[in-house]
């Protein structure tokens, strides 16, 4: 297949997909005759093209795949356009979320201990309902075998992270001064 044709198919596939699409999925859809490095090369080409200032959206690498998203500088225009409620997060939900992000899988008791003993059931519930976290298993070596929580793919999507390793190491946030 010609490169131009390939590029067109890849662009169309990403455009139509509801979820971020990765190289492997693209390869499966196109056929094994096209190697991953060619696909990767085209994805980079597309990223470069849409990053130009004439475009209103760009190709972002997120949650293990590629997705078209509007550019940040257009947010005021889009917010004006739409009558929607922007994502909002309470301080406590965000604290619980960041602890889960870094310490997953983690139990509710562990989360609460790290927050100085604050009851975190409400925040957990909110995060579960928003599908930013999920119950990922149980901690078997603790009496009562409590449930453990982990972040979801949607968490990566909402915060624009490629994968969990895209989070800066927690040590970077440890400051000598307060």
């Amino acid at each position: 297949m010609e490169r131009e044709e390939l590029r067109k198919i890849i662009e169309g596939i990403i455009f139509v997909s509801d979820e971020p699409v990765n190289e492997k999925t693209i390869q499966k859809a196109i056929g094994d005759s096209v190697d991953l490095s060619t696909i990767k090369g085209i994805l980079q080409e597309l990223q470069l093209e849409y990053s130009s200032s004439t475009h209103g959206f760009e190709l972002v690498e997120v949650a293990g795949g590629y997705q078209f998203r509007t550019k940040k500088e257009l947010r005021e225009w889009i917010r004006k356009l739409e009558k929607f409620q922007p994502q909002r997060f309470s301080r406590s939900a965000m604290e619980v979320l960041s602890i889960i992000a870094y310490r997953q899988p983690v139990t509710r008791a562990e989360i609460e201990a790290m927050r100085g003993g604050i009851d975190s059931s409400g925040a957990l519930r909110t995060l579960l309902l928003k599908k930013l976290i999920k119950i990922s298993g149980r901690k078997n070596d603790v009496p009562g075998r409590p449930f453990t929580y982990s972040t979801t793919k949607k968490f990566l999507e909402v915060f624009g992270l490629k994968d969990l390793s895209d989070l800066p190491p927690i040590e970077e946030f440890i400051k000598k001064e307060v």
Binding site: R75, F84, S98, G116, G117, T152, K153
Partner: protein, 251 residues
């Protein structure tokens, strides 16, 4: 006297605030002073009739305990610092607060950046699950049980569902692929009001001679197909007016 009390997420949050305000060294916190300020804050809360959560009291007890241990401690360097546990809890909590700021500084979906309309709908209405977790089952079950407790004659939530929208949907579907299965179309419809609107839309399009509905044999699959008649935009307006008239008659 008016007291303005800053609000804190918990005792660690309050302690970090006091450390910052007084420019204390986190590795060498003057326990007597911070304990005093901490207790002052709690008593101010009490004066304002604010509820003091247990964890604040627990921390107050812990601070007092550390204070006593500090007084009992000799000068020997080798001895463990009674503040150690508190310090490491504060440092780790502080790091998570920074992590919160990091997350909030990202280009957040549906706040800073947006998806193409189709994909966006999937994210917003939360109606589609692609990643399955037991917690989803638990939350849904809770929801179902809550619904069951409500009296059965509860008002049906009437959502504004437009027939015109469904007409457009059908036209769009049929323009690419002339024949399609009724079941296939209906499978994308999630609730009763939408189904009603959908059926009204099909009836309307049949009346206008734009689609035909055929069933090959009894209980067989129902096929919907486009006739040769062209669909024109101005027909939508007619349908809209028809819908409005009906709504008025209903009232």
């Amino acid at each position: 006297m008016r007291v303005n009390l800053p609000l804190f997420e918990g005792p660690l949050d309050l302690l970090l605030y006091l450390i910052k305000k007084n420019e204390f060294d986190i590795f060498d916190i003057p326990i007597s002073q911070i304990t005093q300020e901490y207790l002052e804050y709690l008593s101010n809360m009490e004066k304002l009739n604010m509820e003091i959560a247990t964890e604040f009291i627990v921390m107050a007890a812990k601070l007092l305990q550390i204070k006593v241990m500090m007084l009992l401690r000799g000068d020997e360097e080798a001895e463990e610092d009674p503040r150690e546990e508190l310090v490491s809890a504060l440092i780790s909590y502080q790091a998570f607060k920074e992590a919160v700021d990091f997350l909030l500084s990202r280009e957040i979906l549906n706040k800073d950046v947006f998806l193409k309309s189709h994909a966006k709908k999937q994210i917003e209405d939360e109606e589609v699950w692609t990643e399955l977790s037991p917690s989803d089952l638990m939350l849904l079950m809770k929801d179902i049980l809550k619904r069951m407790k409500k009296p059965s004659f509860q008002e049906i939530e009437i959502e504004k569902v437009s027939v015109v929208e469904k007409v457009k949907f059908i036209i769009e579907k049929t323009s690419e692929n002339k024949t399609f299965l009724f079941d296939e179309l209906v499978s994308e419809i999630s609730n009763l009001m939408h189904l009603v609107a959908f059926i009204l839309a099909i009836l309307e399009l049949m009346r206008l001679g734009i689609v035909k509905v055929v069933q090959m044999k009894p209980f067989g699959k129902i096929m919907v197909y486009r006739t040769e008649k062209k669909f024109e935009e101005n027909l939508l307006k007619g349908i809209e007016e028809y819908g409005e008239r009906r709504a008025q008659e209903d009232n």
